[in-house]
């Protein structure tokens, strides 16, 4: 019994220490971007803190442009995807019609398909549609995602039917029931999906790399990779840009972290 009690008290300590070890690389990099170029590998803390690295990447490199591109793509994809997914999920969870089962099976069958698997044919499809090297090419194929539909459908199955039936008795059509009853109820599920979609699209690298050549269309992750090639050992600049690129993701995560666990429970990933 004594050892039991001791271990219980030891556990938080171990957890805190491990957490520090896990974040240490990130903290180290954040400190590094405030060092002058000559101190990057020599000191633990900078002798004089400098904003030179941050200023350089924001002014001498079109980093703001890359950030803007990523912001536009991620926000548009997220908003449109939430809209179309909730509509599809409402239809699959609540309406009865021939072909629903087949449609649902098809959607589920695409759950485990990741981008690398369909990269080449998807590239050919997008090329055929004339969307190479365009914002539309970055945005449109990224919208469609079975996971979002599935998660929302599972959520809608748990919404009591009575709420919707009351609206139906008031003479509301399907659109009004979806818009006025279902959508407001699904705010928590939508919020958690918004976090996931924003992160996935802000962090996207392979797809933009495959379909864009125009430097004006570079998203932030592509911009980082191109910096890596250009400034091979100027780590102050590369890391400053990397930290700037990571700030929005960490901020969105901090704002929505509680929702993430909820999302996984709703999706029933087990």
């Amino acid at each position: 019994m004594r050892s039991e009690r001791r271990r219980v008290r030891l556990q938080p300590l171990v957890a805190h220490l491990l957490a520090l070890v896990v974040v240490a690389p990130m903290v180290w990099v954040v400190i590094t971007i405030f060092k002058p170029q000559c101190e990057i590998f020599t000191s633990v803390l900078p002798t004089s803190w400098t904003l030179d690295n941050l200023a350089y990447v924001m002014t001498k490199i079109p980093l703001p442009r890359y950030l803007l591109n990523s912001a536009v793509v991620s926000v548009v994809v997220t908003v449109v995807a939430l809209f179309t997914h909730s509509m599809a999920a409402y239809s699959l969870a609540r309406l009865r019609y021939p072909g629903r089962g087949i449609a649902f099976s098809f959607i589920i069958s695409t759950l485990l398909v990741s981008l690398p698997v369909i990269l080449v044919p998807l590239f050919l499809v997008v090329k055929q549609l004339g969307l190479l090297d365009s914002y539309a090419g970055l945005i449109v194929p990224s919208i469609f995602n079975a996971f979002g539909i599935f998660l929302l459908r599972q959520f809608y199955l748990t919404v009591p039917r009575e709420l919707e039936e009351a609206a139906a008795l008031d003479g509301c059509g399907y659109w009004r029931r979806y818009w006025n009853v279902i959508l407001p109820l699904s705010r928590p599920a939508l919020a958690s999906l918004a976090v996931l979609f924003f992160l996935a699209n802000w962090n996207a690298f392979l797809w933009p790399l495959t379909i864009t050549r125009d430097p004006d269309l570079r998203v932030i992750q592509l911009g980082l990779a191109s910096l890596q090639g250009q400034y091979a050992s100027a780590y102050g600049y590369i890391l400053a840009a990397a930290v700037i690129a990571a700030v929005p993701t960490v901020a969105v995560f901090a704002a929505g972290q509680r929702r993430l666990v909820d999302a996984m429970k709703t999706a029933g990933l087990k």
Partner: protein, 324 residues
């Protein structure tokens, strides 16, 4: 459990069953049903169409393009199984399959064990548990490109933070990304660092569904920590474990980390030691414009993956609970 099943709860199922056609149905009811069908399809249309064009069509197309030689200008010539024959003699393809194989065999169990360990560690509340959970998940929030850049910096030969830390142990001269022997292992460790937070969250969600009373009962019966874990927690965690196993396996072969991290860290080097099959396929497709050949290789990888998950499904019976 009802929220977790893929099928509808029975109530909806009853309603979905079409009535006998010869039974008299009032015209109003028929009109109502038609309206519902039209609304259903209209709501579904944008996503169904998008998934069909941008996921379904490419899935089918992969098998078609695999039968063609595609030149750099987009000209197609039918080549039958030539691409598959080329594959047989392409040593670099087989070596990339081997790299991916080693990567999977190392990454999947490590991520599984670390993720489960972390979940058990932060399962119970204690002061600061929120920050600890977030800290473990944080690497999964930043992009793979940023992850790659961070580690490349930490692992710079001799001058990097890792080399400095290992110097007292006489290991300061190791080149983690530059030596063919170490590069793949380094890539595995970085992947685990990136993935473990997500796996932890999935396990946490699974653990929350296990009634505390069961473990308390075992405690009262005098079961130790390890006994409680093996006899109560572990069996009840089977569906979660199965999901994690399949997800990490599929992700390690065809997930984004198989490409993004390799691209940023090593570009497949040194001496192809980290050239995963996904990375090699990308090079064939977009550096050498062999789109047909790349598709053929993709179809083989998908086939192997389907086989692997099939075996997992069969051996664990889909992660279902043991029958009594």
């Amino acid at each position: 459990m009802s929220t977790t099943s893929v099928t509808d709860p029975p109530r909806t199922d009853d309603r979905a069953k079409p009535r006998r056609p010869h039974r008299r149905v009032s015209p109003q009811a028929r009109a109502r049903r038609r309206r519902e069908a039209v609304a259903g399809w209209l709501f579904l249309l944008p996503d169904a169409l998008g998934l069909l064009v941008f996921v379904g069509l490419p899935m089918v197309l992969a098998f078609v393009v695999a039968l063609y030689k595609v030149d750099g200008f987009g000209g197609y010539t039918f080549a039958g199984l030539d691409n598959y024959r080329t594959m047989l003699h392409d040593t670099q393809f087989w070596s990339s399959l081997k790299v991916t194989g080693i990567y999977v065999v190392a990454t999947v169990p490590l991520t599984f064990a670390v993720g489960l360990g972390l979940a058990l560690l932060v399962r119970d509340r204690f002061p600061g548990v929120g920050w600890v959970r977030s800290a473990f998940f944080l690497p999964n929030v930043i992009s793979l490109v940023v992850v790659g850049l961070i580690w490349q910096f930490l692992l710079v030969d001799k001058r990097g933070a890792a080399a400095r830390l290992l110097e007292p142990l006489g290991l300061g001269n190791l080149s983690f990304l530059g030596s063919p022997k170490l590069a793949l292992g380094t890539y595995v460790v970085i992947s685990v660092w990136f993935l473990m937070g997500y796996v932890m969250l999935v396990f946490l969600a699974g653990l929350q569904d296990i009634p505390r009373e069961l473990e308390d009962a075992a405690l009262v019966d005098g079961a130790g920590r390890w006994q409680r874990f093996t006899n109560v927690t572990w069996p009840l965690l089977r569906p979660t474990s199965f999901f994690v196993l399949v997800w990490t396996t599929v992700g390690s072969v065809t997930g984004l980390q198989a490409f993004d991290l390799v691209f940023v860290l090593t570009k497949g080097g040194p001496a192809n030691a980290t050239s995963t099959v996904v990375f090699y396929i990308y090079e064939q497709a977009f550096t050498f414009s062999n789109l047909g050949y790349a598709s053929a290789m993709t179809t083989l990888v998908v086939l192997l993956l389907v086989l692997a998950t099939g075996v997992m499904f069969a051996t664990t019976r889909g992660g279902r609970f043991d029958e009594e």
